[in-house]
């Protein structure tokens, strides 16, 4: 039982972590929390669903097509909603993302309706492999572990060593200085939103496969992923993933012992940790001295 709780906790935690990474990427470059992240993932998942069920194409075609859509969606939202804002404050940008969230949810409800749907994902949650006596692991869990590790390592290397990754970090630290150094910050923002949307769409598809697909299905996972990202530290990609894993484990073990406290226990732990470490567990805490 302990092993099952651990595996299930790590699996859902990895999913929170993956989605948290999508939130953190935008935060790392622009200090903005994208409240439309969940709905961007939701719309991309609906597009995948549409391609799979209406056009009846195999998953290996629908998946890359959805990824292309997710990239374009991220860039379009940045271009249409955030870029036109004149001298925006962080609060202003945040409100814009809230508006985008409402718009996307309305669009999905209008196009696909509110009725719940089963998302035909490649990796099944019901197909299991017994790895030890009385201990099974499903395809979905194997997939989420593998993908989280690949994405985490790729992003870590990208931000640490690639020119674009360094440009993104520079943009976050000082937009004007980045411009002076010849970095095309608008292009950086656009690529950031595209990357974030892409990772968010992948995570959203995993969430949909585990539950059901409807226009509201990403609201709750977004809240938890965001909380996990804050717990790990929004500016640290590995920290965000570890935050997600911690959250998944806490929820599952507490949920087993005291089911009625499951929905809030992780948030209580997060509040306690943030009180002690405001930047999260793994992010560096900078104090500006005047």
């Amino acid at each position: 039982m302990f092993e099952m709780l651990l595996i299930e906790g790590l699996a859902i935690g990895a999913c929170y972590g993956l989605f948290g990474v999508a939130v953190a990427i935008i935060y790392k470059t622009s200090d903005v929390i994208n409240f439309a992240q969940g709905e961007m993932g939701m719309v991309a998942t609906f597009v995948a669903y549409h391609i799979l069920t209406v056009y009846n194409v195999p998953f290996w075609i629908a998946f890359p097509a959805t990824m292309v859509f997710a990239i374009l969606l991220g860039m379009a939202i940045e271009f249409c909603f955030l870029r036109p804002a004149k001298d925006p404050t962080v609060l202003g940008l945040l409100i814009i993302t809230l508006g985008a969230e409402m718009l996307l949810m309305g669009l999905a409800g209008w196009k696909w309706g509110a009725e719940q749907k089963d998302f035909p994902f490649l990796l099944s949650v019901t197909k299991t492999h017994e790895i030890a006596p009385d201990l099974a692991i499903n395809e979905w869990t194997i997939g989420v572990f593998t993908l989280t590790i690949i994405i985490m390592v790729s992003l870590f290397l990208f931000f640490r060593y690639s020119k674009l990754g360094i440009a993104m970090r520079a943009t976050q630290q000082n937009v004007n200085a980045a411009k002076i150094m010849g970095i095309k910050v608008e292009r950086v923002f656009s690529i950031t939103w595209a990357m974030s949307s892409l990772i968010g769409a992948i995570a959203a598809m995993f969430f949909a496969a585990r539950s059901v697909l409807d226009p509201n299905f990403m609201m709750e996972p977004f809240m938890r992923a965001f909380a996990a990202a804050v717990l790990g530290g929004l500016t640290s990609i590995p920290g965000v993933v570890i935050g997600g894993l911690i959250m998944g484990i806490i929820e599952n073990f507490f949920g087993y012992a005291w089911p009625e406290w499951k929905p809030i226990v992780a948030f209580v732990v997060i509040i306690l940790i943030i009180t002690v470490r405001p930047s999260g567990l793994f992010a560096k805490h900078y104090i500006k001295k005047v």
Binding site: M1, M4, L5, E8, G9, I12, G109, G113, A114, E115, Q116, K117, D118, P120, V125, T126, T128, A136, N138, W140, F207, R210, S211, V212, D214, P215, N216, F217, M219, E220, P221, G248, E251, N252, F253, F254, G255, Y256, P259, E260, K262, P263
Partner: protein, 396 residues
Amino acid sequence: MKKILIASMILCTVFVCSLLVFAAGKPGFDDKEIRIAQWGPQTGPAAPWGSVARGSGLLFQIVNDEGGIHGRKIKYFIRDDQYNPAQTKAVVKELVEREGIFAFVGGVGAACGMAVKDYLAQNKIVWVSPSTAIEEYVFPVNPYIFAVYPLYDDEASILTKYAVEKLKAKKIGFLYQNDAYGKSGLKGCKTRLKTYKMKLAEEISVEPGEKDLSSQILRLKNSGASVVIMWVNPTSAAIALKTSATIGFKPQWISSNTLSDYPLMNKITGGLWEGVITGAFVIPSDANHPLMNKYRNAVKKYAPEERFGVFYAAGIMFAEPLVDALKRVGPKLSTEAFIKQLTVTKNFQGIGSVVNWTPKVHQGTDSIQIQKCGPNSSYIMLQDWTPNDLATWKKK
């Protein structure tokens, strides 16, 4: 200056008086029509339940095509409240004060109904068959509300009896939504188990939005329950079944009538719903029953785009006793005469269970059918209309 002041005062008085007249609303009927209305989520998260309101509309269309009721046609209004009580208040107020409504029928959403219950009573507007089971609607008796939806604790009690006596369950688990709906089911189950000197092997709550139920399902598995009764929403039920399949937990699942739309449930669970037992307050929509056959044909004629599912049929069932009482009132229609006829409704049966209303009891039934999801989302009848012999409200 004085003249302007007096003129303004007169204008204000006229305006206020006109508002008062307007607020009082038009009478809900005339010689040609009776105005009936329903709110329901046509858009938003609960839109799948919007078919209830459209189902009622089908019955009114049939009635009108058959010549109406004593020369009057039913004019039917549907308003989309998006399952939002604030919106429900606004649309009900608009309907009552602008259109003049004689009676409301159905009305999805416990909170939505609670938001307008007192307003309707204040305006002496009858509300027949709320589309949810809330004890506060009918206990103590509200002179304007008449319910046909079986109470959740009655339903849970009947299903628990079935689990113990027919399925010979020794250990029963209960998975419930942490709100009034879930807790009513839990109460009914526990009351029934007491009569067998049994206790639940496990009772676990879930929050409506929870997307990960692995710890809850593992706990149910650990309890050794061979039957699990669930009182949750469709999304939680789908997650529960998927998680159970993942961890190799295969109990007999039983659920309330709210999850009796088998085609939908089978679709969102990827086929895992087959074999699940549920309560039902409407006979199966594919049943060979004279009334059901008539309604099925009417759907093809009037609303071919509609899926004739359980909630659409429920909308018809909610409106049936209203039409029956209106017919019995005769040509001299009034709210008082209508209420009088409703309170003497005896052994009325449409496509739901037998309905009985008296001046003292406005809860019309405590009976459900027990059905099972068969192959291709078919409805297998396990037990015909069964009342709850433990229903305390019947003994009052």
